[in-house]
């Protein structure tokens, strides 16, 4: 058994080392660890920082355990000290209440900072692009309110431009996740959330719904395609001129549960996003419509809001955070 234990701890530390390796170096298939934009990078920094901080405590714990088990085994002739009644030590207690407090303290500060930072656009001086995202069963509808085009199951974005994704669902709650660009955010019926992402290099980035939505969930992926601004503009023009329009009826059909490929539309019913949010309960969210809309049909709903009279100032809907 003695040897068994030694090899076992070796095994564990080997695996820990392997995990570490995976977490730092690693091939392109580790998409979370190979971010292609500022948001994902910032999150990766935090992942790295937290890994290092917890390892500072965990590694000594593992080492100590290995040492103790080897040294204080109950075997004949073991000369290590045996103190059956030694059970208090103020100094030690202070150490192991203190060190974790310290580490958690440091981690908390960085967590707070980044949490707040991610609610702001990654780049302040570039005019952001807005894309509205509606998760459906089991597909993703992307609406470009300024370009007036729409796509299904893929979205094109220009590189170097902060993209403001406005998220909602017209189906059970899902989660919008493009690991290489940054972390996810729920898409919820009746809610319009905001998620800032940005791609720095051209590429085709894997995206997937991350919150279970039923039978078709496994096939609920999409792509975010980043290209230069000029390529992006060309793509918009092309969609506008060649693709069919998304009509109300078309949307109703899209909404039916199904798994489909990609599609693009040269236009979509104005206010589609806001109406969707509104119908599914958005009218109960103070501040939400004021923030998200301002563009489309908010005005027509303003009178109906049940939230009249409550204090809405400062209640800004911010996706992240």
């Amino acid at each position: 058994m003695g040897r068994g234990w030694l090899t076992r701890w070796k095994g564990v530390s080997l695996m820990a080392a392997a995990a570490l390796l995976l977490a730092t170096g690693c091939g392109p298939e580790y998409i979370v660890l190979n971010p292609k934009g500022p948001v994902g990078r910032e999150e990766l920094h935090l992942i790295e920082l937290s890994t290092v901080l917890v390892l500072i405590v965990i590694i000594p714990v593992l080492a100590l355990l290995a040492f103790i088990v080897v040294r204080y085994r109950d075997k004949p002739g073991n000369k290590a000290r045996y103190m059956p009644n030694w059970s208090e030590s103020k100094v030690l207690e202070v150490v192991w209440w203190g060190i974790p407090i310290l580490i958690i303290g440091i981690l908390s500060v960085y967590t707070a900072k980044t949490t707040f930072a991610l609610t702001r656009p990654p780049e302040a001086d570039v005019k952001p692009l807005t894309i509205q995202v509606v998760s459906l069963n089991w597909k993703w509808l992307f609406l470009y309110p300024d370009q007036k085009v729409a796509t299904v199951n893929y979205a094109e974005i220009p590189t170097g431009v902060p993209v403001q994704f406005e998220l909602t669902a017209d189906a059970p709650m899902n989660s919008f996740w493009v690991p290489q660009l940054g972390g996810q955010e729920y898409t919820m019926p009746g809610m319009a959330m905001r998620l800032w992402l940005q791609a720095d290099e051209p590429g085709r980035y894997y995206g997937h719904g991350a919150n279970f939505t039923g039978e078709g969930f496994a096939h609920d992926n999409f792509w975010v395609v980043a290209k230069s601004q000029s390529d992006f503009d060309r793509w918009v023009k092309q969609v506008r001129s060649t693709a069919p329009a998304l009509t109300k009826a078309g949307y109703a059909k899209l909404k039916q549960p199904s798994v489909i490929g990609t599609a693009e539309y040269s236009s979509f019913p104005p206010g589609l996003f806001d109406d969707t949010v509104w119908i599914n309960g958005g009218r109960y969210m103070p501040g939400m419509m004021a923030d998200v809309t301002g563009r489309a049909s908010a005005g027509s709903h303003a009178g109906g809001s049940e939230m009249n009279g409550t204090d809405m100032s400062g209640m800004d809907m911010n996706g992240k955070g």
């Binding site: 714990v61 103790i68 989660s175 279970f212 078709g216 309960g281």
Partner: protein
């Protein structure tokens, strides 16, 4: 076939669902026939009723919980093996989406509510009264009710697989996916009612053990002399009584939505699905601490016993337990950091969550320093405890990483999360419960479990664990989401999934060794004649194994922490033997069939609600009410054990 039967078979027996269901159907029918046959053949029906179904003895109730937990571990484990088989390679069609969804849902629900919960309750029941020097729990009758509510709740949940269809929206069961609009089937109703019924039982258990620990301690056993396992039960019960009501409400409201047509969580008419998520985790997070705290208690007992050393930093340990149980109440939103409730909300809950790591760390260090300068005996309970430390430390550390809200945006709902919680649930709860089972097994049954087979189980399960779950962290970084029934080859997830599946099989083999070990030891296991096979420290080891049903012939007067150890050191063990002149008649609660009937009535009512059969539901509820009223008028619920009988029993055990 008559049309009526055809319809019945299609709707409820799900005949067109394929071989998986047929096999389970056949298995269940065969097992039931086998049990009925065996009971009849050996003329054990009466015995079953008298000794088990009507018992109010905490030790027997504990054993029934234990059996149920092991069975459910098997059922949940088979689910896990099925899932892992399906995921071993990309694009497999061993299970289709529908069945896979059902299986991960039942796997998660069963493992947490019908495996982990009864396992901890098993140990509560078996150990707590013995450790504090009591004859039974505060409310033995209620204790039996708790068990039968758990049992029939679990039954209701489990029959869904072959009768009407399983739930398939995850153990978290988020609406609106679980609202009628998206989920017609009775599966979700099974989930809601099965959990509701057993949840009521859990609340009662929490109250019962809290009252027991606060009020039934032997003279001299002050709070700060209580064994740490009892302390951990106290802490867990505090969490139970304050957290479970949230589950009750979450389930009740969703059920109202489904059955009565209200709009709490629907998409239309002003419902707010997020509120369910909120309520669910108000319970759900504390729930994971409910199951881990008793495991912490087990480790504290085992570490001290097998290192032959006083537990290090006892008061710190107590403070840490209480701190964990209170803080655990203020962290629930970390399960939905990505809901976008606001940077302020996320920051608050992130910091609170990380803070739990501090008292937990204190416990880890105190265990280590209990071992330090001790003499460590590598017997099975100790092995599992030693395996727990690294496993839980790593799992806890990844928990802290998840608590970093912005990082969680990348981990959430990925296999990184799956790896985290299996590491704490298996490395913490399952290892802990197994350690406890091995430790107290002789006390329950009077024999030890075979050491050699146990080691095989241990190594298979442990190595299997790391092989299964370490790759899942990596899969998380590769962007693999949870709850996908299959994935395409070009994702590159195939290799690691394959490795993970191998690990799961190894764990399965480990479990088979445990089964083998139990069967083997029943026949050949080393008998425990002293009542103190591990050279223990606390009161339960002063009693013979198995313990007579009145526990202590004479209630001891406690003078120390680890009193039994101290007495042994000073050669004063005689003090805990009953002296003839001190023996007096003992009052014990009478057996009652009513808790069983009441559980059954709940089951009937539940079934009625599942299928909207209102008459059946009403009949069931009527049965429940009848049981309660009958109890209200019951005055004569105790009997007396005469002195002669006690003397006779004790003499036969060689203690007089």
């Amino acid at each position: 076939m008559p049309a009526g039967f055809q319809h019945f078979a299609d709707t409820y027996l799900m005949w067109n669902e394929g071989p998986l269901i047929w096999m389970s159907d056949a298995l269940i029918v065969l097992t039931s026939l086998g049990i009925v046959g065996a009971l009849t053949y050996f003329k054990r029906w009466k015995w079953l009723w008298r000794e088990w179904l009507t018992t109010v003895d905490h030790k027997k109730i504990g054993i029934m919980y234990l059996i149920a937990a092991l069975l459910m571990l098997f059922r949940g484990g088979v689910d896990a093996e099925l899932m892992r088989t399906q995921l071993a390679l990309p694009g497999v069609h061993f299970l289709d989406a529908e069945h896979y969804d059902q299986i991960f849902t039942t796997h998660g629900t069963i493992m947490i509510l019908f495996m982990a919960m009864p396992f901890i309750f098993a140990l509560f029941n078996i150990v707590v009264p013995l450790q504090i020097g009591a004859r039974d729990v505060a409310f033995p009758y209620l204790n039996a009710i708790s068990f039968w509510l758990f049992f029939f709740g679990a039954m209701l949940f489990n029959i869904s697989f072959v009768f009407g269809g399983s739930p398939d929206a995850g153990w978290t069961s988020y609406p609106p996916l679980t609202e009628l609009g998206f989920d017609k089937g009775p599966g979700e109703n099974f989930y809601l009612l099965g959990l509701q019924i057993s949840g009521i039982g859990s609340i009662a258990t929490g109250i019962n053990f809290l009252a027991t620990i606060l009020k039934m301690r032997a003279p001299g056993m002050t709070l700060m002399r209580m064994p740490l396992f009892t302390w951990s039960v106290l802490a867990a019960c505090v969490v139970i009584i304050f957290a479970f009501p949230a589950l009750t409400i979450a389930l009740a409201l969703l059920m109202l939505d489904r059955i009565v047509g209200t709009h709490f969580f629907t998409m239309l008419h002003g419902g707010n699905p997020m509120m369910f998520i909120n309520l669910f985790w108000i319970w759900g997070h504390p729930e994971v601490y409910i199951v881990i705290l008793p495991a912490f208690g087990v480790f504290s007992e085992v570490v001290a016993t097998f290192a032959r050393k006083r537990i290090f930093g006892y008061s710190s340990m107590v403070a840490a337990l209480m701190a964990i149980s209170i803080i655990s109440y203020f962290v629930w939103a970390h399960h939905f950091f990505t809901m976008g409730a606001g940077a302020d909300v996320n920051t608050f809950f992130a910091v609170a969550t990380m803070a739990v790591g501090i008292p937990t760390g204190v416990k880890v260090f105190n265990w280590l320093f209990t071992l330090f300068r001790g003499r460590i005996r590598m017997q099975l309970p100790m092995l599992w405890t030693l395996a727990f430390v690294p496993c839980f430390a790593i799992g806890g550390a990844t928990g802290v990483m998840l608590a970093v809200a912005p990082a969680d945006y990348q981990y959430h709902n990925s296999y990184f999360l799956i790896a985290h919680f299996h590491q704490v649930l298996i490395g913490g709860v399952v290892f802990g419960m197994l350690a406890g089972m091995y430790y107290w097994w002789p006390k329950m049954f009077g024999f030890k479990l075979d050491e050699r087979l146990g080691r095989w189980a241990f190594w298979f399960f442990n190595i299997g664990f790391y092989v299964c779950f370490m790759p899942q962290y990596a899969l998380g970084f590769m962007g693999m989401q949870r709850r996908m029934y299959t994935y395409p080859a070009d994702t590159g997830w195939g290799t690691l999934n394959f490795v993970s599946t191998i690990g799961a099989y190894l764990m399965g083999i480990g479990f088979l060794f445990i089964v083998l070990q139990v069967l083997y030891s029943i026949k050949y296991g080393e008998r425990d004649l002293t009542g103190d096979p591990w050279d223990g420290r606390t009161l339960e080891w002063s009693l013979p194994s198995p313990v007579p049903h009145y526990n202590f012939a004479v209630i001891p007067t406690v003078t120390d922490r680890d009193m039994w150890w101290v007495l042994k050191q000073e050669g004063r063990t005689e003090e805990l033997r009953p002296k003839p002149e001190e023996i007096q008649p003992i009052h014990m609660p009478k057996n009652s069939g009513r808790p069983f009937l009441m559980g059954f009535a709940f089951f009937v009512a539940g079934l009625g609600f599942v299928f909207n059969w209102h008459v059946l539901a009403a009949l069931g509820l009527l049965g429940v009410v009848a049981c309660m009223i009958a109890r209200s008028f019951e005055y004569d619920d105790e009997y007396q054990i005469p002195v002669e009988e006690i003397e006779y029993t004790e003499a036969a055990l060689g203690r007089l």
